[in-house]
């Protein structure tokens, strides 16, 4: 019953009027950035990181979490109504959702997406409540060698598994790790790669990299290449599901939750893989196969949307219990924790129990808020899509300035921001993944510290990683993840 008490405590903290307001504000901003093209949850959280200097930790984590999963709700609205997905996790929703909307069933698609997100988000939150403390209790026993290899596993999956090319993934990871090296070494206090520039002594802010890659990069890409891309908007219809549509939706929601949740917990994060898997499963199991790819099948929206939300809620488990981010947004959330001097990890559940449980409680509350924000009020968000692109993107540049300048009050950072924006354009144009840059930059210094601690334990011998069963197992997993695609390819060629 200890769990129950802590959760109630969490609700008491999250339920204070001030914190409820922060949650509502987060969910609202989250939905808005999800709906708007050109800005996603990672950018929005990054731009708002300066508030960590003034707002207390619990309130701002509730706020940021609201933005994080609010964006997933909002993203579905854009991908159903426009022919461009608002978020990468909504790409699959766009396939069937768009077809449904073209056939006058936009309302039903929006309803199944929002309710499915709610069902999956809530079930996933229950699972986080039950399992996060268990994982944390287990993780206390992990030593530096295991931590280091868990982080290496996160690096490997983020760069090798998620992208199209292992090579481009690792190049991006290298850039991220290099950015993370700039500044003072944590263990010896020696300056690295600062070139005598005092601004670089404290390292480069993650805000700068995230906002540069995503917001400024996106804006520059837009002006260079997408000015003439014409978007068509589908007509809205009444947000309503028939009994038959309900009957087809709910099994899809549950199956998708079962698919999405495990994917969020392992360090192979991102919501793209589970949404694709869920889509494939629904297509295979559906009794209405003819609707897929033609008039639009409701299962094809219900499943991926639910999988998406289950996965992103589950990413909080590795973030909170191990301190390992597996996506852009969780990497920036980790940065937010660090701004408070809090290091997420197994001790978080002891040292900052009040904060963690308030955060988890706020997930339950936020899901209810988002259901209300996205079902009855969906018309309001659709109006956002009418903002002319030039003004939208120019406005994003103003917010980018606030986020970056507000963090360190340095005009030098604004010039760097432009440089990172150019890097973002090149990466997008030549299909380099961006998540490895952000994850590498945030996690790199932590991984380095764990590695050096591990080697201290082993008195300088690398065999320490082979001697412990936990680290040996992880090492084998890392190698398997790297080699598996090649082995599969070789096997296919043979048969």
């Amino acid at each position: 019953m200890d769990l129950w008490n802590q959760l109630l405590q969490g609700f008491a903290t999250a339920g204070t009027p001030v914190n409820l307001l922060w949650a509502l504000l987060g969910c609202t901003i989250g939905t808005a950035v999800g709906v708007l093209p050109g800005i996603g949850p990672a950018t929005a959280v990054a731009m708002l990181l300066p508030i960590t200097t003034k707002v207390d930790a619990t309130a701002s984590m509730i706020f940021f979490a609201g933005i994080y999963y609010g964006a997933m709700y909002g993203g579905s609205t854009t991908s159903i109504l426009l022919n461009t997905p608002g978020e990468s996790g909504s790409m699959v929703t766009a396939m069937e959702g768009n077809r449904m909307a073209k056939n006058g069933r936009a309302g039903a698609a929006l309803a199944t997406a929002a309710i499915g997100s709610f069902v999956a988000g809530t079930i996933a939150t229950v699972l986080v409540t039950l399992f996060a403390p268990l994982v944390a209790a287990y993780a206390v026993r992990l030593g530096p060698p295991e931590y280091f290899l868990l982080m290496v596993l996160a690096f490997t999956t983020v760069s090798a598994v998620l992208g199209k090319s292992t090579l481009r993934g690792f190049a991006a990871l290298g850039v991220g790790l290099a950015l993370g090296l700039i500044g003072i070494d944590q263990i010896t206090g020696q300056a690295r790669y600062t070139g005598g520039v005092p601004e670089l002594m404290d390292g480069i802010e993650v805000v700068l990299i995230a906002v540069g890659l995503f917001a400024v990069g996106e804006a520059l890409y837009m002006v260079l290449y997408e000015g003439k891309t014409v978007e068509t908007q589908n007509r809205m219809s009444k947000v309503h599901m028939t009994a038959a549509e309900w009957k087809r939706s709910w099994p899809a929601w549950l199956r998708a939750t079962a698919i999405g949740f495990p994917f969020g917990t392992i360090p192979a994060g991102g919501s793209e893989i589970p949404t694709f898997l869920s889509y494939a499963a629904e297509k295979k199991l559906s009794k209405h196969k003819k609707e897929f790819g033609t008039t639009g099948a409701i299962e094809g929206v219900a499943g991926p949307e639910a999988a998406n939300n289950a996965a992103i809620t589950a990413t909080l488990i590795p973030l909170l219990t191990l301190g390992i981010p597996t996506s852009n947004t969780t990497a920036i959330l980790l940065g937010a924790f660090q701004n408070y001097g809090i290091n997420p990890g197994p001790q978080l559940f002891d040292k900052n129990a009040a904060l963690v449980w308030a955060l988890i409680a706020s997930l339950y509350i936020g899901n209810v808020m988002l259901l209300v924000l996205n079902l009855p009020l969906v018309g309001m968000w659709v109006k956002l899509l009418k903002i002319p692109k030039p003004h939208l993107y120019a406005g994003i540049l103003i917010f980018a300035t606030v986020g970056v300048y507000g963090m360190r009050q340095s005009a030098f950072d604004l010039v760097l921001l432009y440089g990172i924006g150019l890097l973002g354009v090149i990466m997008r144009r030549f299909d380099f993944p961006t998540a490895p840059v952000v994850v590498g930059m945030i996690l790199g210094p932590l991984a380095e510290a764990q590695m050096r601690n591990a080697l201290s334990i082993g008195e300088g011998r690398w065999t320490i990683f082979l001697q412990r069963p936990g680290s040996l197992a992880l090492l084998i997993v890392v190698i398997a993840v790297l080699l598996l695609p090649y082995l599969v390819k070789a096997f296919r060629r043979k048969t």
Binding site: I51, S165, V223, G227, H391, T401, G406, L414, F430
Partner: protein, 166 residues
């Protein structure tokens, strides 16, 4: 930006970055303490990884281009006039923000960027009316943001005056 030339350039750039990291690593102490590896260890590794990735990228670029490329979205060639407008907006903002203050500087950035985005849509409008409208919108976004940060959150953003209102 198609064909092997830009891809080759990116590969060479990656090699250069790796080499630069390696050169920088020479100057970092190798004092290892108990752990056997010092603060210069990871820089060497990352430099090596980037160097290797760069060489492989160059090889891919020379032998038929990057593998498994997702076709980039949008036009085949860049719209450079629009790019120049937006770049001017961002860079002028960086240069002027401390002297003319956040609100004016951001409004200027907004106006320039809108012109860039519109020109990329072939709808560039240099009339005074459009200028007035965009300036007003720029102010309407920048001013409340500034007030919210400086008055409510007490985060220092530069102003033209020290009143905290402009």
């Amino acid at each position: 930006m198609k064909g092997p030339a830009p891809q080759l350039a990116i590969g060479v750039g990656t090699v250069a970055l790796g080499a630069a990291l390696g050169l920088g690593a020479i100057g970092i102490s190798s004092d290892a303490g108990y752990s056997g590896v010092g603060p210069n260890f990871l820089p060497w590794v990352v430099g090596g990884v980037l160097l290797a990735c760069g060489v492989l990228l160059v090889r891919e670029a020379l032998t038929g281009g990057y593998r498994n490329m997702e076709e980039p979205s949008g036009a085949a060639s860049g719209h450079w006039p629009g790019f120049a407008w937006v770049s001017a907006g961002i860079l002028l903002n960086a240069m002027l923000i401390t002297t003319i203050g956040f609100i004016l500087s951001c409004a200027l950035c907004f106006v320039l960027a809108v012109r860039g985005f519109k020109s990329s849509q072939d709808r560039l409008d240099l009339s005074l009316r459009a200028l007035a409208v965009d300036t007003a919108i720029g102010f309407a976004i920048a001013a409340p943001v500034y007030w919210m940060f400086s008055q409510l959150l007490a985060i220092n953003l530069p102003g033209l005056t020290s009143t905290g209102w402009i």
